[in-house]
């Protein structure tokens, strides 16, 4: 065993020390593996960032009422009478005024201009009342003030003012045929709400001629376990028949489709690029074995076994690919970690999120590079182990 290890050590050390003589093919393998790993990690970080932004939105103790089968907020409609019925439901927490702590809201879509590309993108304009901030947790006015009821004033999420033109504090912007004044900016713990524009619900109802109807109702529950009671309450009253979901579940469902889409785009692209990297790795390793044919045959003639030749070649391949994986990971991390992007959410509106790298993603990236290294090394290593000994005697 010790002798086999000594042989493996000697052959592997020779392989690695001979890499400089094949510098450019080795570098091309490192780069190809690095690109494949970097692309995969970028998509994974994008998907991860989107998922955690949307998933981090909402509280488990906030129930959201929507029209049955409506799916998203945009398609939902709830009448004033239904809102009044919901106020009577048991399990809803009371506000300081002793009334049910709920927020009836409108949800519409307006155009925004992206600062990065100058192109139009959909932004959610949410009409809310004073309770919107009390029902939700973590909403904080970070600059300016809250809008006044009955006025054409807006407060905008931090991500909106960062990524879209014209939403700076004090600016007037025309949205939905109405001039609005931006009077405040709010934070929402990095959640989806930071990608929204909020205004007075009464202003929006008038603007869109919705009368007194709203689209969703959010209610703070006494505790998350009261959701079943609310569902039963809604089902029992034929005038309601609404979908009732915990806000966390609602956003988790919303995020799944888009983050899956990013994943399903990312993996095939990374796999396609991995095939390119694999071809590079195979080429490099076959070149390595061919360049060392006489050396390998000489070692075999002296009495070395095929195993050290196999392990030595595999080690070289895995090492080059691992370096590529680490370089690709590092580049992807430096380029993308924490940068903001926006994409279409499930309500056809923009969701601003940050690319998010995690140790698990890095492990996946390095794992991909090692798979490329293994697949790219195993056939050349097999060839190395089977080099005909007569090659030691052939002319140079």
């Amino acid at each position: 065993m010790a002798r086999t290890l000594a042989q493996i050590n000697a052959v592997t050390s020779m392989n690695l020390r001979s890499i400089p003589s094949r510098l450019w093919t080795s570098i091309s393998t490192v780069v190809a593996v690095g690109i494949a790993t970097g692309v995969l990690l970028s998509f994974l970080a994008m998907s991860n960032g989107f998922r955690s932004t949307v998933k981090g939105t909402g509280s488990p103790d906030v129930a959201i009422f929507l029209r049955k089968g409506g799916g998203g907020e945009l398609n939902s409609i709830i009448t004033r009478e239904q809102v009044q019925l919901i106020e009577e439901a048991k399990g809803i927490a009371k506000g300081p005024d002793g009334k049910a702590l709920l927020s009836a809201e409108m949800y519409s879509v307006v155009d925004g201009i992206k600062k990065s590309s100058g192109t139009k993108a959909n932004l959610p304009l949410r009409g809310v009342g004073p309770n919107a901030v009390n029902v939700r947790r973590g909403i904080k006015i970070s600059a300016g003030r809250m809008f006044q009821s009955g006025t054409a004033e807006l407060v905008v999420g931090r991500a909106v003012s960062k990524q879209f033109k014209g939403f700076e504090l004090g600016r007037t912007i025309r949205l939905a045929s109405q001039n609005w004044k931006v009077v405040g900016e709010f934070e929402a713990g990095g959640s989806v709400f930071e990608s929204e524009i909020w205004s007075d619900i009464a202003m929006l109802q008038g603007l869109y001629r919705r009368g007194s109807s709203v689209q969703t109702v959010r209610a703070r529950m006494e505790d998350p376990n009261r959701l079943k009671e609310l569902l039963a309450f809604s089902d029992a009253d034929p005038r309601l028949k609404l979908d009732v979901k915990a806000e966390t579940e609602f956003y988790a469902n919303q995020s799944r489709g888009i983050s899956d889409l990013i994943l399903y785009l990312g993996w095939p692209l990374a796999i396609a690029m991995s095939f390119g990297a694999l071809a590079g790795a195979l080429n490099t390793m076959y070149a390595s074995v061919d360049a060392r044919m006489r050396e390998i045959a000489t070692m075999r003639a002296i009495g070395f076994g095929g195993l050290p030749a196999f392990v030595g070649t595999m080690t070289e391949s895995l090492l080059l690919s691992a370096i590529g994986g680490v370089v690709g990971t590092l580049f992807a991390y430096l380029l993308f970690d924490g940068i903001s992007a926006s994409t279409l959410g499930s309500n056809f509106t923009q969701v601003v999120f940050s690319f998010k790298f995690t140790p698990e993603l890095v492990v996946q990236g390095v794992f991909l590079s090692l798979i490329i290294g293994f697949a790219g090394g195993v056939f050349p290593a097999w060839r190395a182990a089977r080099v005909p000994l007569l090659a030691a005697f052939r002319e140079q």
Partner: protein, 230 residues
């Protein structure tokens, strides 16, 4: 003549070229006694190197038997042959076949990695082998920093470091000038005469063959023995 180290009986060797089977030699008999220094000469394609490969357990005969030190070796498995080569054979190649990224000492040490010797014992053996070939002061040099003659001396040190019974030399001076070739052949002669090493050397150079005790001519699958010193 002392007892036989190698006995070849009825050896035949054929290679496949496409669908054809091309015979190199048939029914070849040969005996190499211990402490022999035999030069094998013959025209190109006569099978000199093939014979060397058979003697060294690198190739297998198509027919016949090969006995080495009283034991059959033509029927050994690949792994057994590798162990056989490590224990019994030292190879000296025309183009030295040194590992370019290893120093002279590391090249010489390679066969010892196949033995049970520890690092200290290996270092001592390497030191002795390099001293035998007069390269003690070049131990740390890479092959590219050595002349052709010095590289071949490192190869000789590598071949003798594990004290094998047989040295097989394939055109050992084919890549060297006349003067250096003389030095190398003199060294082989010394190894044979003073250390009792059995040597089989393939060469096409009659001058090189004169350093051997006897010369065997291989042609059309038959040996004829000539004394070039006569």
């Amino acid at each position: 003549m002392s007892e036989a180290l190698i006995v070849l009986k009825g050896i035949g060797k054929r290679y496949k070229r496409g669908k054809q089977s091309v015979p190199i030699f048939e029914h070849l008999d040969m005996t190499i006694p211990r402490q022999d220094f035999a030069a094998i000469m013959g025209p190109s394609g006569s099978g000199k190197t093939t014979l060397l490969n058979l003697l060294g357990g690198i190739d297998r005969p198509s027919e016949g038997t090969i006995n080495f030190d009283g034991k059959r070796m033509d029927n050994l498995s690949e792994n057994q042959l590798a162990a056989f080569r490590a224990a019994n054979i030292g190879f000296i190649f025309q183009f030295y076949n040194l590992m370019p990224m290893l120093s002279a000492a590391q090249n010489v040490e390679l066969p010892l990695l196949l033995t049970k010797l520890g690092p200290r014992a290996r270092r001592e053996r390497v030191k002795t082998a390099l001293a035998v070939v007069g390269l003690s002061d070049r131990a740390r040099h890479k092959p590219s920093e050595l002349s052709g003659g010095q590289q071949q001396r490192v190869a000789i040190a590598r071949a003798i470091v594990s004290d094998p019974k047989l040295l097989l030399c394939d055109e050992p001076t084919g890549d060297l000038d006349r003067e250096t070739a003389g030095e190398i052949l003199g060294m082989l002669q010394t190894l044979n005469r003073d250390l009792g090493k059995t040597i089989v050397m393939v060469t096409h150079d009659p001058e090189a063959a004169r350093f051997a005790k006897r010369t065997l001519h291989l042609d059309k699958g038959r040996f004829s023995e000539k004394d070039l010193n006569a």
